[in-house]
């Protein structure tokens, strides 16, 4: 029944064609283009590993140098659009269609290309959703992945940034796809086997180490009093109030400020051990003081962070590490952890509308969403209680039999009312809707839907949307914390005062916080150098953050 093994035969033919450019599985860096032209077919679905951080950059350069008459109309299915080459291939006609999750560094260019019709966009996914589709309808024909080292049999060591690799390989290798790994070096024996060799078809020794994006480092020196004030309100008004132990933080300065206030402000409030003990989080350098002060019990990571490797090795009580001692991260598992095992997600966004929908898509930038729509959603499949989850469930409007009440995940947006260049965060209508219309998207790219958001924290106060009972209350609660934006100035002052009396809108003074106490002296570390000191010299910040 050869008719049932066509994919397998096609795979074997691709590998056979590739072998002429390899010695066994090993391919020299200068043969990458030949290899890719041999194994790729027009219209292939290709995952070019672009994670949140780790980049298969050598393979990306190789792909962008392929002859478009041989390699064309590819359908790229990758989580991150990070490197220029990820978009160059669309201009060159090598790639045509795109399904992805995150495009932070390329947000401006991808917006222009979407408007210009150079990219046929499938959808902007959340990570877990894109990974899920790898196993259903977006299974890659070819995966181009990155690791630290490999042996000649293809056993792969990913290093601390394992990130998406196991998921990508699982979907490709077990469904008749071809897996090509770039590694920094070929060794006799890898420190640990992250991907077994029989799932890797070719190993390219890259011309230089793969690029890693230091995405999670926030310099305490750049933290403002406004961000500190917001962090104080979040700690006292949300973390303490709901007793949040299991949580995930976004990557903004507001949440980094919370991390730096745990050993100082939160400690003075007597919250140690009561909040922020178990995390689904990248190894944020700003979490070091909290870890060193004994606040943190455990952290599972999506990926690693540049400079944190030695520190993590020496703190294996806190982090997940392999037999070799280094961090083992895994984006799919950590996203699952964030979805089902965390009681709170708190992150930032670029725009929030009057009902609480939010998006990072603006007219000029399509930054993608990464994990936020997943982390920032209430998982309806959850079936285990926690005090936090149940309290939030009780606050939300209960309909029907209270004995059948489910809890609620806390989804908090922490934003300054104005962004860079005095651009208001609060808007009547999300730019995402305009973008959807302009490029013909069936589904507007919303990051966190209004019905998932439970709280909005700004420098003006906290809006508790769980407690709102009507659409009007909800709108005024949002206006009530929107500061001096047009949305904020358009509030019904009397109604906002009534919401305040019901605890739906809370000002700093309602929480016993004096805004003038929001001072940089509260930060456990005031600079990257302080973080290095906290870590006992184990944290090795990248050059761009070493300003001493």
């Amino acid at each position: 029944m050869s008719g049932w093994r066509r994919e397998r035969e096609a795979r074997d033919a691709r590998i056979e064609a590739g072998r002429s450019h390899a010695e066994g599985k090993v391919v020299a860096a200068d043969k990458v283009v030949d290899l890719l032209e041999a194994i790729l077919r027009p219209g292939d679905r290709v995952c070019l590993e672009g994670d949140n951080q780790k980049q298969a950059d050598c393979l990306a350069r190789g792909l962008s140098q392929c002859d478009p008459s041989r390699v064309h109309d590819l359908h790229m299915v990758q989580s991150g659009i990070v490197l220029p080459e990820h978009l160059d291939i669309f201009e060159q006609g090598i790639a045509k269609r795109l399904d992805y999750s995150y495009s932070g560094p390329q947000g401006g260019r991808i917006a222009r290309m979407l408007y210009g019709g150079q990219i046929e966009l499938g959808a902007v996914h959340t990570y877990l959703e894109l990974f899920a589709r790898y196993f259903v309808d977006l299974t890659p024909n070819v995966a181009l992945i990155a690791g630290v080292s490999a042996d000649r049999d293809g056993n792969l060591y990913t290093g601390p940034n394992t990130e998406d690799t196991p998921t990508v390989v699982e979907a490709t290798a077990f469904k008749n796809g071809v897996v090509v790994a770039q590694v920094n070096e070929i060794v006799d024996r890898v420190p640990r086997v992250d991907i077994p060799g029989d799932r890797v078809d070719f190993v390219v020794e890259a011309d230089k180490p793969f690029y890693v994006e230091p995405l999670f480092t926030r310099d305490p020196a750049a933290m403002t009093e406004t961000q500190i004030l917001m962090a104080m309100m979040a700690i006292k008004g949300i973390y303490a109030e709901y007793g949040i132990r299991r949580l995930n933080h976004g990557i903004g300065f507001g949440t980094a400020a919370i991390e730096l206030l745990l050993p100082t402000y939160a400690e003075r409030l007597g919250l140690k051990g009561e909040i922020a003990t178990h995390w689904a989080l990248n190894p944020h350098p700003t979490l070091i003081p909290a870890i060193e002060s004994g606040w943190v019990k455990q952290v599972h990571c999506f990926g690693s962070e540049v400079g944190m490797d030695r520190y993590i090795r020496e703190r294996s009580d806190i982090f997940f590490t392999g037999a070799d001692g280094s961090l083992r991260s895994n984006r799919a598992f950590c996203q699952t952890a964030g979805l089902y095992a965390c009681d709170l997600f708190i992150g930032s966004t670029l725009q929030i509308d009057l009902t609480g929908h939010s998006s990072t898509v603006t007219q000029n930038r399509v930054a993608g969403f990464g994990g936020a729509p997943n982390m920032g959603s209430d998982p309806h499949g959850r079936r285990h209680p926690s005090d936090t989850w149940m309290k939030a469930g009780r606050e939300a409007q209960v309909t029907g039999d209270p004995a059948l009440m489910r809890g609620r995940k806390l989804v908090v947006q922490i934003v300054e009312t104005f962004g860079d260049g005095l651009v208001p965060t609060f808007v009547e209508r999300l730019d995402a809707l305009e973008l959807a219309k302009k490029i013909g998207l069936e589904l507007a790219p919303v990051m966190v839907y209004a019905d998932d958001v439970t709280h909005i924290v700004t420098e003006e106060g906290i809006a508790n949307l769980l407690l709102c009972r009507t659409a009007d209350e909800r709108e005024q609660a949002i206006r009530g914390v929107a500061g001096y934006t047009e949305i904020g100035r358009g509030r019904d002052r009397a109604m906002v005062e009534r919401l305040r009396q019901r605890g739906i809108v809370r000002r700093p003074e309602d929480l016993g916080i004096e805004p003038l106490d929001a001072d940089r002296s509260l930060l456990a570390a005031k600079s990257i150098k302080d973080l290095v000191h906290w870590s006992g010299g184990l944290y090795e910040p990248p050059a761009k953050f070493r300003n001493w």
Binding site: E225, T417, L516
Partner: protein
């Protein structure tokens, strides 16, 4: 450069005796606030020089809220703006008032 000027009446003079204070710096996204106790006890003026045009209404709202909150009677306040966000302006004004109260 845009120049704005606001005049308010307060129900009291700002407590304290300090004659002058300065807070903040003229840097991008920041501002410098000079406060001088030179006016009659229930008057307050705020003069602003800002590089960003077209935010008159926001300044007016920020200043009005500050006056209502701090009751800074007697102060002549001069702001040298570096494109600060309204919340930063608000914070600096309150910091300035606190400095004058000692």
């Amino acid at each position: 450069m845009e120049k704005l000027s606001f005049r308010h009446t307060t129900s009291r003079a700002l407590p304290g005796a300090k004659a002058q204070a300065i807070t903040g710096v003229v840097a991008s996204g920041n501002l410098e606030v000079l406060l001088e106790r030179t006016l009659p006890p229930t008057e307050c003026t705020v003069e602003i020089e800002t590089p960003i045009r077209g935010y008159g209404e926001v300044w007016e709202a920020v200043v009005a809220d500050f006056v209502a909150r701090a009751e800074p009677g007697g102060l002549r306040i001069t702001i040298n703006d570096g494109g600060a966000r309204p919340d930063t302006v608000s914070l600096r004004l309150l910091q300035g008032a606190r400095l004058m109260e000692v």
